[in-house]
Amino acid sequence: MIKAGQIDKGTALLIKGQPFICIEREFVNPGKGSAFVRLKLKSPSTGQVLSETMKSQDNAEDITVEDRDLQYLYNDGTNFAFMNVETFEQIEVPMASFPDYQYFMKEGETYRATFWEDQILDILIPAKIVFTVAEAEEAVKGDTVQGATKYVTTETGLRVRVPIFIKQGEKIRVNTETKEYLERVNK
């Protein structure tokens, strides 16, 4: 058990028997009222997001989680398939639980995942990932403020705005949180 006031982003909780990960936490003090926390909790199995308001002194059931390394194999449009690098066991995860993650999943790459018992609660995307440019579009004209740019599509289908000198087949480093181009990677 932990106090609701101690819940932070990333804390794993059991709510009505279902695991949830806290994705947003805000302290709220209504005028002349007790301290509350406003939480956004995500269910890893369904992707459902719950808004919960708790008093900071309320008890919440936290769960012990464990990190394991998984190698990404493929997706079949419904599930991501991973392999546990220690046990070679194959694991499937519904794609709907991790929207947009397909853009950051590179075949053969290893990702750190948070487990509660045998269930994946979270998959950690590295802050920066190197992608190969699969398709490069024409330059966007008229943007003189940020310099001339254009869009490219990576091998995972992610669209990124890049400088016009980037060509198909080149490698680029991308900030996975903002989905912004960082630099060209020279081999």
């Binding site: 805000e26 302290f27 709220v28 003090n29 209504p30 005028g31 002349k32 009222g33 007790s34 301290a35 509350f36 406003r38 808004s51 919960e52 308001t53 708790m54 008093k55 002194q57 309320d58």
Partner: protein
């Protein structure tokens, strides 16, 4: 000052210029209306018991006098009411205030500036009109146009009806309110107090739904939320309002409780709650003033406005750090 001066500095000096203009306008607004500006201490040996506010405590040391704890005031109310009770005219004050343990972030700084003004003979409704005039007098040409529109005034009951779909007049029994909160999807404990359950509903459904682009005044707060605002006759509400600008709490107003016995009752209840809640924690339990409940507070209405937040609104800033030279979060990371 030359208006064309361009500041090139790590400090946001432009915001200081606006702050200084705002303070001057506030002073002339109240001076023209016959209010007395007063200056009261920010270090106090006692506070009004408020279980929901955490305090900063410090220690007075002296070779010749017994040492004792002092507190940085969370608001100048305790001193201002003493001045009022002594027979002063209407008074105002701009002072530094301190609140501990609050969330750091976009709209909080543990040390902040408060404007408090008490008007003799005013009801809380009269204070709405006065505050409207005050804010109008503080607008800059470039202030967001939504501040120039009329206030939206709505009762807490209407706001809860509108945004949470329930009528708190019909939910005065705590069991009914808990059942309603559960129906809405909240999980209050069986023994939760009426005001806590109400606040759950209020901060989950009402506060986030308030209009984001203008000034909203919520009036008639439930009497169950204990404070020093007077109770209404025959209705379960207090003469209290809160002003939100762009969804952010900026001001609070009471029609002041004038009855010594009701003030003393508030004191007893709140002091017990405060001591109970902080037992076993490292949070300071401030000493409470024994004399305060016996003050003869004249019929009046007091307003407190967070000036840093108001300055943010007037100058279209989204972060309190943009109106402070030395934001607390920067001080927190100073090396020593």
């Amino acid at each position: 000052m030359d208006e064309t001066v361009v500041f090139i500095s790590m400090f946001n000096l432009e915001s200081q210029k606006h702050r200084s203009i705002m303070y001057r306008r506030i002073r002339s607004f109240f001076d023209e209306r016959g209010y007395l500006e007063i200056f009261t201490p920010t270090l106090s040996p006692t506070l009004i018991p408020e279980s929901t506010i955490q305090n900063f405590r410090t220690r007075f040391l002296n070779e010749f006098v017994a040492e004792r704890d002092f507190y940085l005031i969370p608001s100048p109310e305790i001193f201002m009411k003493e001045v009022l009770a002594s027979g002063s005219p209407s008074v105002y004050q701009i002072s530094s205030c301190f609140r501990n343990s609050e969330q750091l972030g976009r709209v909080h700084n543990p040390e902040f500036t408060m404007l408090e003004y008490y008007t003799l003979g005013f009801t809380d409704r009269d204070s709405i009109a006065l505050t409207r005039e005050l804010i109008t007098s503080l607008l800059f040409d470039f202030s967001p146009s939504c501040l120039k529109r009329d206030f939206t005034v709505m009762s807490v009951r209407d706001a809860v009806q509108e945004y949470a779909g329930c009528d708190i007049d019909e939910l005065q029994d705590v069991h009914d309110l808990i059942a309603e909160a559960r129906r809405l999807g909240q999980e209050p404990a069986d023994d939760e107090s009426w005001d806590d359950v109400f606040n759950r509903i209020f901060i989950t459904y009402v506060e986030p739904s308030l209009p984001q682009d203008g000034i909203v005044v919520l009036t008639d707060y439930p009497y169950q939320i204990e404070c020093l605002a007077s109770k209404q006759k025959d209705r379960p509400y207090r003469n209290r309002w809160e002003m939100y600008i762009g969804g952010m709490e900026v001001a609070n107003c009471y029609e002041e409780e004038t009855s010594c016995s009701r003030t003393a009752e508030y004191y007893r209840n709140e002091a017990v709650r405060l001591t109970e809640e902080r037992r076993g924690t490292s949070l300071p339990v401030p000493a409470v003033s024994k004399d305060f409940p016996s003050l003869r507070i004249p019929a009046s209405s007091g307003v407190a406005i967070g000036l840093d937040r108001l300055l943010m609104c007037l100058t279209g800033k989204k972060d309190i750090k943009d109106v402070l030279l030395f934001p607390f979060e920067d001080l927190l990371h100073v090396n020593y």
